[in-house]
């Protein structure tokens, strides 16, 4: 898959006006229409990109190229399936939260984020006094016990490499998915 200059490749494309500024605007507009057309999901047909091209009045080659550009620049994280983690064997979804000394929060965050079973790891603001936690690390497991074991491994790693910096922690298990549509921007 080639990721070529969007301006060059857009010139002469169906429905794309000529002229430099027009091209930039046309490409941005096409990208936005691609987001709108696929945010609900990719059509399950043999040639989904051809169908998108037809819907958007452009060429299949340009659709695939714009998707490749968006993947390359990070606007699309990936194209694929989002499993219901309960259904595929990971019913225990634990959001572990940690109160870490501000002095070394980033070093601890990098360490915890590097653990193989941590699927997301972020620094977030505390909401004092009720919420002292500034580090969030998500773990998924087949059982609550296994998830707690992993949280224990996180605690051990922090204590081993950064003794004394963790003041308290908690684990919030999910009890149900209430919504999981992914983002929706307006038309």
């Amino acid at each position: 898959m080639t990721v070529s200059d969007p301006i060059d490749s857009a010139v002469g494309g169906a429905g794309v006006p000529s002229g430099k500024l027009g091209d930039v605007q046309a490409v941005a507009d096409l990208d936005r229409r691609l987001v709108l057309a696929t945010q609900g999901g990719l059509a399950l047909v043999a040639r989904p990109y051809a169908l998108l091209a037809e819907q958007l009045g452009t060429s299949e080659a340009l659709v695939r190229e714009r998707l490749a550009v968006m993947l390359a620049d990070g606007r699309i994280r990936r194209i694929g399936a989002v499993p219901n983690h309960y259904a595929i064997g990971y019913p225990a979804n634990g959001m572990s939260v940690w109160d870490i000394d501000d002095e070394c929060i980033d070093a601890v965050g990098e360490r915890v984020g590097g653990l193989p079973f941590v699927t997301h790891c972020y620094r977030r603001p505390r909401h004092l006094p009720d919420w002292p936690y500034n580090l969030f690390a998500m773990v998924h497991a087949a059982t609550r016990e296994a998830a707690l074991e992993r949280v224990g491994e996180i605690a051990a790693a922090i204590e081993r490499d950064f003794p004394g910096v963790c003041r308290s922690r908690d684990v919030l298990f999910s009890a149900g998915i209430l919504k999981k549509t992914g983002l929706r921007i307006g038309a």
Partner: protein
């Protein structure tokens, strides 16, 4: 056309358990789910290419993928967008919802298109959801409208730093 595959997120989600899958994936399903969590090919017939890799026909793969979505084993299939790279914002948010108002508040919160996903969690803050808005200022605006709609405080937990994100679970 893709909208036709949307999972209903209203009344079904209002129960304690939320959205549950209707069946357990079999071995072929698991192989397929694992193959589809990676990079879906940007070729003319991408399903045919994946089908070769997992030993199914193109038609069988598409039918199976549709049934996995229909049965909610998968919640979505397609591009996952990073709205921050498009000038927008994501923000984790939480509310403490009184149990007697649970169903009503789930409906009210889920009705906001800005809510990308929403989980019940075991804590005084028992509802945790992610807002996605097209502008950074949209987060505070959405939270304010949500507070007005529910009469409950919305606590925002914006990401200050991302250390790791790689949500791929082997099925």
């Amino acid at each position: 056309m893709p909208e036709a595959r949307e999972r209903p997120s209203g009344s079904k989600a209002a129960g304690r358990q939320g959205i549950a899958a209707r069946r357990a994936p079999d071995d072929v399903d698991r192989r397929l789910i694992n193959a589809l969590q990676g990079d879906f090919p940007l070729v003319e017939r991408p399903f045919a290419q994946v089908a070769d890799a997992v030993g199914l026909s193109e038609e069988a793969l598409i039918a199976r993928l549709q049934s996995l979505l229909d049965d909610r084993v998968l919640t979505r299939f397609g591009p996952m967008f990073q709205i921050e790279r498009m000038g927008g914002a994501f923000c984790l948010a939480a509310m403490a919802v009184p149990e007697v108002r649970w169903g009503e508040v789930v409906e009210a919160v889920n009705a906001f298109t800005e809510v990308a996903h929403n989980y019940r969690r075991e804590h005084a803050l028992n509802m945790w959801f992610v807002l996605a808005t097209e502008t950074p200022g949209g987060i505070a605006d959405c939270a304010a409208r949500m507070e007005a709609a529910t009469g409950l405080p919305v606590h925002l937990f914006p990401k200050e730093r991302e250390y790791f994100v790689e949500m791929k679970l082997e099925a």
